[in-house]
Symmetry: C2
Subunit: 418 residues, 2 copies
């Protein structure tokens, strides 16, 4: 059998993992690897003749069948991939940002040139999720995803919970351990999870979700006091990527912290582990969990994609039809103000007397039911520390409640998962 | 596009679920359905002209491309499937017993006739597991599976735990609710899970595992006292299907109750939910969980398999190469006596005085370390109730320990998961 010939762009952590793991795979040959700096020391022993600092040595090489893109970011990756597709190459990529921002154009281009783009590694690292959704779950109407898609933030939240430490303390420790980057914005502000849920919900719902319609909040405002209160009430706080679609194709897709019940699986997904809970018909509910990042788990997914192409390569027919992602119909976006949620609200009231009654009245006037309200003592300065959890209500109304509590300090508002 | 033409043998719970779900699938046509009793009332409205009580109306029908077998058991299913394959049909089946007992012959026959047998529904119901292992995880060397594969026993054990009830009480309740059959042997003695782990470990390890080499124990001897003690020590008791393989292809495959740490994911898989934990390289550890049985989840898997065939049907090339299961090389069996495990042992000693010293000495003489030993008071009759958890040691030696404690009553011995 002819070997599948691949070119790899990028030889960082994931690239090295892919290189190592491919040494055991017989039917795949690495023809060329493009890197930024040829002389940089690397933990793998790559023959110098296959290394280049010019990606076009791969992209324009007619003997290469598949380009494996592992550099991330939109530029110059987009140009590399578009030219590769035009040159007749299939694509394997781990680039979540590119897929979220340019998915529509690049999948359409691939279709035009009859090439596939596989990207299992881009979403939830090693967890098998894209290929299962596209193949064995293909008969389902999936209408809900609830997922932990970012290992850095899940690590920080887990450590805040177990150590009773502040966000700042744990972030510093995570940076020292290499779990968070020097500029952690992409992770802690939820961009990474937002990119992932954009593509994941697109393929699960079979409707294109636009990145600009995905609501996003990060974890930087979560206080250790919120962790403690959530715990007392039977919850953990997680950064959750949420996506739902109704029968009229209204898609509500977002990333923000949530209180999740300790009875749910997601509450037990700790440290850098990721998990994806999917609901649909006829499947019901499933949860897939595993390592969301790292050299080897990500390599597992990249290699799975390469082997899928290898298994069908050389066939004259349309390759891997189930894995195509050129979804043309779009979902209708839902504004976050128009969504229904339960809310955890931490309030410091200037005057303890009558405050419970006031909160109760403001909520009752807007038809908002309270599921629990806890006031713990009264401080020496006569302020009161109050924690409220509401029943499901409109986000717009909760914003009005907060405005009407203008004499109180609202310490935190965090949505609560069902 | 031509529709894929299928024949369904069996229209019980799963068959009805498949029938209903296929109504929404455009590119698949149900040509014929074979049932035992045409006149039996069913919850689906099937046109009478496509119903027959002769399976050979399907098997010998040249217009049918795929036989979907949903009757279970070896006879007559084996003959139906063999004839279907010889007649050039692909197979989709949910028949775990047939695959475990006759997997080798039937997969070889399918290969000989260049046909595929897909069976996602046979193992862990709706959880995507077979197709992910065969496709996106194909680059991995999987060396360990730890799974909850039987919903009935997991329901019983969960209820025993939450209600503090005996096995007999909960079994009766489960039978009344339809979660357990009138003759529950297949589930409670571990046969169902044994069939599933036989096939699951075969495809995960890429070595054929023989059913006769799979060790099996059921849950009928688990006492509510064991549940309580396990809980106190930080464990839950689950019926676990275990499979490991070492670098010399020695495969240790078995089904038996185990104490699993409350810190593990499997401890939180409750009621009829199933879960499969897989370890390998480069993936690391992943856990897939979801509904292990039921009309709709099982239908999801059957339909996923049908759609996989539909997606490639009509191609002139070798169909779905990654999904082939004709593993020729065999694993070496490992005798349970030669395995290393941790053990929970519940002992009633006739005489409290000196018994701890005696147990300690017997274990020490065999180089068995104890991880915990708890004696709770002394009864009026001077007997002592003692719970021991050992460190990892050889099964053969634990049997010797039990023999040497011949003056004690051994209430339970249950293996403990790492």
């Amino acid at each position: 059998m002819d070997k599948l010939k691949i070119g790899i762009i990028g030889l960082g952590t994931v690239g090295c993992g892919v290189y190592k793991a491919l040494q055991n795979i017989e039917n795949v040959e690495i023809v060329k690897i493009a890197v930024k700096n040829i002389n940089k020391p690397r933990p793998v022993d790559v023959p110098p003749e296959i290394i280049t600092d010019n990606p076009y040595d791969l992209i324009n090489n007619p003997s290469i069948d598949v380009i494996v893109e592992l550099i991330g970011g939109v530029n110059p990756a987009l140009e590399y991939l578009e030219t590769s597709i035009r040159n007749g190459k299939h694509i394997v990529t781990a680039n979540k940002e590119l897929l979220a921002k340019c998915g529509e154009e690049i999948f359409n281009l691939a279709e035009q040139y009859n090439r596939v783009i596989l990207y299992e590694a881009a979403i939830a690292g090693g967890i098998p999720i894209i290929m299962p959704i596209k193949t064995i779950l293909a008969g389902n109407k999936i209408n809900k995803i609830q997922a932990i898609l970012n290992g850095t933030t899940n690590y920080i939240l887990t450590k805040m919970d177990t150590d009773g430490a502040s966000y700042e303390t744990v972030l510093k420790e995570a940076q020292e351990l290499g779990y968070a980057e020097t500029d952690p914005t992409g992770d802690v502000e939820g961009f990474d999870a937002m990119y992932k849920i954009t593509t994941l919900s697109t393929i699960a719902f079979k409707k294109r979700i636009k990145l600009e319609n995905v609501y996003r909040e990060g974890i930087t405002k979560i206080r250790k006091e919120d962790m403690e209160k959530a715990n007392e009430l039977g919850y953990k706080i997680k950064l959750i990527a949420n996506a739902t679609i109704d029968e009229n194709d209204n898609a509500d897709v977002r990333v923000h912290p949530m209180l999740v019940s300790k009875k749910s699986m997601l509450a037990h997904i700790d440290y850098v582990t990721n998990a994806v809970a999917i609901s649909g018909h006829p499947i019901g509910n499933i949860v897939l969990s595993g390592p969301g990042a790292g050299e080897f788990p990500t390599a597992s997914s990249v290699i799975g994609d390469i082997l899928a192409i290898a298994s069908e390569f050389g066939k004259t027919d349309y390759l891997l039809p189930m894995m195509r992602c050129n979804h043309t119909s779009k979902a209708n976006p839902v504004n976050i103000d128009d969504t229904y949620n339960k809310y955890y609200i931490s309030i410091t009231a200037p005057n303890a007397i009558g405050i419970i009654a006031k909160i109760g009245t403001i909520c009752a006037n807007k038809n908002i039911s309270l599921s629990s309200i806890v006031q713990k003592g009264v401080s020496d300065d006569n302020t009161a520390d109050i924690t409220v959890i509401t029943e499901e209500c409109l986000e717009r109304l909760i914003k009005e409640v907060v405005n009407e509590l203008s004499d109180c300090t609202i310490n935190s508002i965090i949505r609560v998962a069902d």
